[in-house]
């Protein structure tokens, strides 16, 4: 969105609420001064004034245009500053930028969503969009994993998802503990027994690069078509508008042509998982 002719312009945004999700992830409920309309999969740039800017894919419902939520893992300079924010603080917002999941194309098909760790954040927004079009697709499967139960994002919400009739949900952790009575193992181990027609279906993969790599190889081996596998790629997206050059991925800029790519668009490019 090019606000008043300046794509670098920041929209003043108030932090409404900060929720601690895991030891390293907090969710921020944000209220921009102007309505921001995004589609699931697109990202926004958030600024902590004086500290800088970083890209995040909203984890909230795209149709809720008054507020936006992002779940932020504390990994770097800007995210460390973000974790120090509290309700009432002011941040800057640009966007939305990049490509969204082609929801129209998902209609009438069987959908497998594969999430790993912090990848649950953008996927929550996608799942809300899919729930809103419930009945328009054949079946919906969510297979998610993370390292430990304490690192599982939206754990309470996941419980309620488990009770939905329009969703078949299964979660796994690499390493269990006394709070966990579910599956233990890598997410790739709980994909094969999904009861769907892989060659006709849609697979969506989002998570850390190493998980994306193996989950993509897995769904390919299962029979999903490269053009029906959607990946949310992570590169160093800075300007968000295809100019600053940092997030190049072959002939694409991740910020403008992605972050959602079909595997068929990028599978020939060198170093996509690096």
């Amino acid at each position: 969105m090019c606000s008043n002719g300046n794509p670098y312009r920041l929209i003043r945004t108030e932090v409404l609420e900060v929720t601690t999700e895991t030891p390293t992830i907090k969710t921020f409920r944000l209220k921009p001064d102007e309505e921001v309309r995004f589609q699931a999969g697109q990202f926004i740039d958030l600024t902590v004034p004086g500290a800088g800017e970083a890209p995040f894919t909203p984890s909230s419902r795209a149709s809720d245009t008054a507020e936006i939520a992002v779940s932020v893992m504390r990994v770097g300079r800007v995210t460390t500053q973000m974790h120090a924010l509290s309700a009432g603080d002011i941040v800057g917002l640009r966007g939305p930028y990049g490509s969204a999941y082609p929801l129209d194309e998902f209609a009438g098909r069987e959908i497998l969503v594969v999430g790993g760790g912090c990848g649950f954040a953008p996927l929550r927004s996608l799942m809300y969009s899919l729930f809103d079009m419930s009945g328009q697709f054949k079946r919906l499967f969510f297979r998610g994993g993370c390292r430990k139960p304490g690192e599982l994002l939206y754990r309470d919400e996941m419980k309620s998802w488990g009770e939905r009739e329009d969703l078949d949900l299964l979660l796994t952790v690499d390493e269990g503990d006394e709070t966990w009575d579910g599956r233990v193992g890598l997410v790739t181990a709980i994909l094969e027994d999904v009861p769907m027609n892989f060659t006709e279906g849609v697979a969506i993969v989002c998570g850390p690069p190493i998980m994306m790599k193996f989950a993509t190889q897995k769904v390919l081996a299962m029979g999903f078509q490269p053009e029906s596998i959607f990946l949310s790629m992570e590169k160093n997206m800075s300007c968000g508008i295809g100019k600053c050059g940092h997030c190049r991925l072959g002939v694409y800029y991740c910020c403008k042509d992605g972050p959602v790519f079909r595997y068929s668009q990028i599978h020939d490019l060198p170093g996509i998982w690096e």
Binding site: N6, Y8, T47, N236, S238, R248
Partner: protein
Amino acid sequence: MCYFFAEHGFGALLRAAAEKYDIFGPAQREGRGVYTRLSSNGATFDTGPVRTVDPLKAFFFKPRECVADGFSAVPPLSENPPLCVVGVKACDLKGFRIQDFVFAGDEFRDPFYSRARNETLIISSDCTSALDTCFCEAFDDRPYPRGDFDLNLSPVDGGYVVEVGSEKGAALIASCPDVAQEATQGQTETRDRQRDEVSARVRQNLKDYRVPRHDELAGRVERHYDSLIWKDEAATCVECGACNTICPTCHCFFLYDQKNVARMARFRAWDSCLMKGFARVAGGANPRRELSERLRNRFEKKFSFFPKVTGEYACTGCGRCISACPGKIDIRRVMKRLAEHV
């Protein structure tokens, strides 16, 4: 039709331009041209024989610029008068084909670049000589401007043959009716002969250094993706970024904030893809950890990415990076190695 301006007449033209524009042109320092603010009388003006040391892009995509001021919706555009840049050479004008694509070619038009492009008056000029490092002809470009100027100057005896490239240029000429003459056939023939001579000199450079032509580079970076070229060439790279800053087509930048929480301001500054952290993400993962990978990225952008997305090689053959590199990394040698069969 071409005009002829005698030297004193051209001085009058510059004085007319100075009423509206700040005028910059090449000043010779230690034998090399550097873009410098010219005094409006134009007395010491010289178009310069070859390209300047510094690239033209700095007037449009500035080395450092404030791009957002607080949460204001108004872009913090400069209030300085528009610029007129004189003596611009063809290789710098070619840079516009890449810079325009990046900054003015899509829905996210950059207001700072676009305004400078719209307002600046470009009075370009033919190269009257060639440096040993000049190789524009490898990309089928010529050492004289063929477009993207408002006026172009071809030095001939006693003055300049002037070609009009835009309405803005025509309007400036119209403001000096007393000094503009129609160029004679003899004068335009002199211009054409000089142009051919300089072109031939650049083509001789291609032969002397065995520089491949652009059509020998198609698909070659992909072919050589895992070759030893990159490690060999990176061996002397010191990651100074001079090749990036001096390049007319390099456009990468980083965004950073003024360290003043009470007064938020965002700046944009030239970046270099040779720097270790260029592609690193917040978690620490770095797709181009090795210097050789970053050097490859530079040439991949020039000889693969831009030809694929715009149909243009992002190299103007200006040779600035050859002169600037303390590690003596020579883009012509890289081209030569790319063109070799594997």
